[in-house]
Every structure is written in C-alpha cells, then in structure tokens.
C-alpha cells in the first residue's frame, strides 16, 4: 500500500509539473535567480576572505638593528619574540641580504651605486620582519619591543605606520561584518522571492486542494504532490544554477585576476564545485519544501 501511494504521489507531481509547464518553468527560473544570489554570496565571501588575508599578510612590523649589533644578540631577541602569542611569523634579514636587496632595488640609479662603492663597509643593519595573526596585535608587539629598551635596536617602523595599520585593522573588521550582514539580508530576500513564487503556484490550486479534501483525501495525500514538486523545483534549479556559474566564472576569472590580486575564482570554484553544488542543492530543496508546506497549510483547513 505504501509503495502504491508513494508511486501515485510521484506520478501526480510529475504530471502536474508537466501539465503546468509554464508555471513550473517560471518557478524554476525564479529559484535559479535566488540560488544564483546565494551562490554569489558564497563566492564573494570566499573572495573577500582571500583578499583580506592577502592584505593582512602584507602588514608587518620591522625591527631595524644598528649595523654593529652582534648576530647572537639579534637571534636571542628573535627567540624571545617568537615566544609571544601574537607572533605568527618572524623573518630574519641579515646585513648582507639587506645590502643585496638594496643594490637590486637601485641598480638603475648610478648615483646610489657609486656612493655604495665609495663606502668601505656595509652601511645597512640587519632587521626582523614580524607578522602577527591580526593587525590589532602589532600594538602590543611594538610596546613589548619598546619597553625592553634593547640597545641594539635602531628603530621600529611600527610607530611610523601605526595610523595606517590601525585604519586597516578597522576596515578589515568592518568589511567582514558588513559582508555577513549584507549576505544575510540578500539571502533573506532571495528566500522570500522563491517562497512567494511557489506560494503563487500553489495559490492557483487552492480550490482543488479544498475539493480533494471534500472527496475524502487525507491531508498528506493532498499535500505530498506539492512537496514533491517543491523538491523538483529545488533540484532542477540547483543544477541549472551550477551550469550558469560554470561558464560565467571561466569567463570572469581572467578579468578578476587583475583586480583581485592573484585570486583565481574559477580555480576556487572548480576546487569546491561539489561542496558548492551541495549547498545550492540543499538550499533549493529546503526552500521548495518549506514554501510548499507553508503554502498548502492555509488551503487544507477544509
């Protein structure tokens, strides 16, 4: 009996889908739009996170040492700093490396090259590049270094960059919060649009729902085909959405690479395509079923 009923429900919803093909297509199309918004939100979130991470990694503070500072003392200081919780990465640049980098940078500038040749000794000091987990942590690292009053430290470039780092840290936090906020609002709107479309599709069948009840059909026998249709809308829409994203991203990726600082969205998409599809699939089915449930509830009170 159960399989008979199940088969009938599936058959009825497929027939209804086909006989109301324009309503079905319109509903699927709106669902595709909604899922497209959801997908775009997921992708832009990934891009935002990647960009913010990129920027964060570029922020660091550099401790410059006087040229006479012995290497052992610098290493000692490096080991102490490494033990700080806030420190993510620490990089030692020796005097020779600093000089090579300096020469490389000013290779074209004859005056500077000549001046360097005039000098007997390497005028540059060694330095430590310190990266923290979060821009706000540079303050405490800088304070630690200043409080230590290490005689070998020439200068710490944090104070010069403090304003920039503070502002950046604020912008990063704000854009993350705003991003989440906007995503929630847009996802809410997308849901409401899809919900209303399905509700309209069921609204046209409201009288039939009442008749089915009066003819002796149980609530679930009336309702189930609408739920199956909801699932069907979700499945078809999520597949279509995936096929909209695919070429779009392949086309956008080369243009995006210029602006997004080396982040390849197409690569990201392809690497996560299964997960991505699963999310769209789940959201699509959920929206379809929940909308159908809510929409049929009203008309079943007969």
């Amino acid at each position: 009996m159960f399989t008979t009923t199940f088969n009938r429900i599936i058959k009825h919803s497929l027939i209804a889908f086909w006989r109301n093909i324009w309503v079905s297509l319109a509903t699927v199309l709106v669902m595709v739009l909604s899922l497209f918004i959801v997908g775009s939100l997921i992708l832009s979130h990934a891009i935002l996170v990647a960009i913010l991470q990129g920027i964060q990694e570029k922020v660091d503070i550099t401790v410059y040492f006087i040229p006479e500072a012995p290497e052992e003392e610098i290493f000692g200081l490096r080991d102490t700093i490494t033990k700080l919780d806030e420190v993510k990465k620490i990089e030692y640049v020796s005097r020779e490396q600093a000089l090579t980098a300096f020469q490389d940078r000013y290779r074209e500038n004859a005056l500077i090259v000549r001046s360097l040749e005039e000098l007997d000794d390497n005028p540059l000091g060694a330095s430590l590049n310190i990266t923290s987990f979060h821009p706000s942590q540079y303050e405490s690292i800088a304070r630690f270094l200043e409080a230590g009053k290490f005689s070998i430290v020439d200068k710490i470039n944090y104070r010069q960059n403090q304003k920039v780092i503070d502002r950046l840290s604020f912008i990063l936090d704000a854009s993350r919060n705003v991003g989440v906020g906007i995503s929630l609002v847009l996802a809410g709107i997308a849901f409401l649009v899809a919900f209303n479309t399905i509700r309209m599709a069921i609204f046209t069948a409201r009288e039939e729902i009442g008749v089915m009840r009066l003819v002796g059909a149980s609530n679930w026998y009336v309702r189930a085909p609408f739920l199956v249709s909801g699932v069907l809308y979700g499945v078809i829409a999520s597949i279509l959405t995936l096929f909209v994203f695919w070429p779009l991203l392949l086309w956008l990726a080369p243009k995006g690479r210029l602006y997004l600082g080396g982040i390849d969205i197409a690569q990201y998409f392809l690497a996560n395509v299964f997960q991505f599809f699963l999310i769209l699939f789940a959201v699509g089915i959920l929206v379809g079923v929940v909308s159908s449930l809510i929409a049929t509830r009203r008309y079943l009170k007969v």
Binding site: A16, N20, E208, V211, R213, V215, N219, V302
Partner: protein
Amino acid sequence: MIYFDNVSKIYAKDAIALEGVTFSIEPNEFVSLVGKSGAGKSTLIKLLLAEEKPTSGHVYLESLDVHTLSRDELPFIRRRIGTVFQDFRLLASKTAYENVAFAMEAAGRTDEEIEADVPQVLALVGLQEKAHQFPFQLSGGEKQRVGIARAIVNRPDIVVADEPTGNLDPQNSWDIIKLLGKINELSTTVMLATHDKMIIDAIGRRVVTLENGRMIRDEKRGKYIL
C-alpha cells in the same frame, strides 16, 4: 442514518443561516431539500460534510457526531458520502478519468480496482468516450456527470447533491436527476438540495422545505410549495 439534531448556524447576529433544524434521513431514502436561495440548504450540506461547524446542535451519521472528528479522521466519513456540487468542482488539471480515479486513490483503493471500476462508472454516466478529456473540454452537463461518477465510484452509503442542476439546461437537468434516481434504486441514500420546482414536483418523493433557516415542512410525498 443521518440525523440533524436541533442544528443552528449563525455567522453573525444578522446572518442566521440555520435555526433549530431537526430531522432524520433513513437508509435508502430519496430526500429533496427545497427552499429559496439563502434558505440554508447549502449550509446544511456543509455541516453534514463537516466543511463547517454548527453554532449549536449536532449532526450524526449513524451514531457518530461528525463534528467530534479530527481533521485526520474526516476523510473516512467523507468517503462514505459522495458529493455533487452545483459548480462541479472538478480538478481542472486532471482528465475526467483521473478525476474519478482520484476519489478511489484517496480512499486507498488498489490500481486493479481503479482500472476496473472507473471505466464502468464512466459508462454508467455515459461518458466512456470522453474519459481522457479535461474539464474545460466538457460541456456543463458532461462535467456534472463526471461529478456524479466521482461521487458514486467509492460506492458510498449516501450521495449528497447540492443544486446539481443549478448550472444546467432542462434537458441536462433531467439526465442528472434520472441518474440520481438510478443511484437511489441501487440502494444508496440520496439527499438533493434544489430550488427547481419542476424537478421536485416530478420526483414525488420526500421533501423537506426550509425558509429563512427554519424547517417549515416535511412531507413524505411532497411538492414544491413556498
């Protein structure tokens, strides 16, 4: 079999649909419910189907008070009552065959039973040729015959017809009434609500007359008198 016990239905202070109506219907009776529009005929039928609840009083189907049933239990009594509506109320997206089959499916019949019974019932109402047409392709009389086929396909104890001829021409009306008579002969109780004087006078069976929500007459071999 059916017992209306002091039933009242009051929508608002100045909208009283039924007031203290009491009468019973025996098995295999053919009862006509007559009265002007707004006399309370449809309300009485809606109360029997538990489409609406009475303000006071009870409606019994055998010993069962239909308004004590939960929404999940209602389908079981509705399957014992076949209903024909003035506006046909067919499922627009289903063919004649599917409309009739739906009532059987809803009652949990097997595919074999459906395949055997639906063509038979459609033949009974003379529609075997149009089984696979949609309601919009059928005339009013044909639609109502589908409605009757749907109402009787589960072999109900009672067939309730609410102004079944209200939207039909005289010829089609007669066909429908003859069908109802035939159904009654096959030992099914029939409850027919109508305001068609010609039909009532011609049937010559029990007539219950309603006026302004009150029962004013109940005659074994009634005429349409208002």
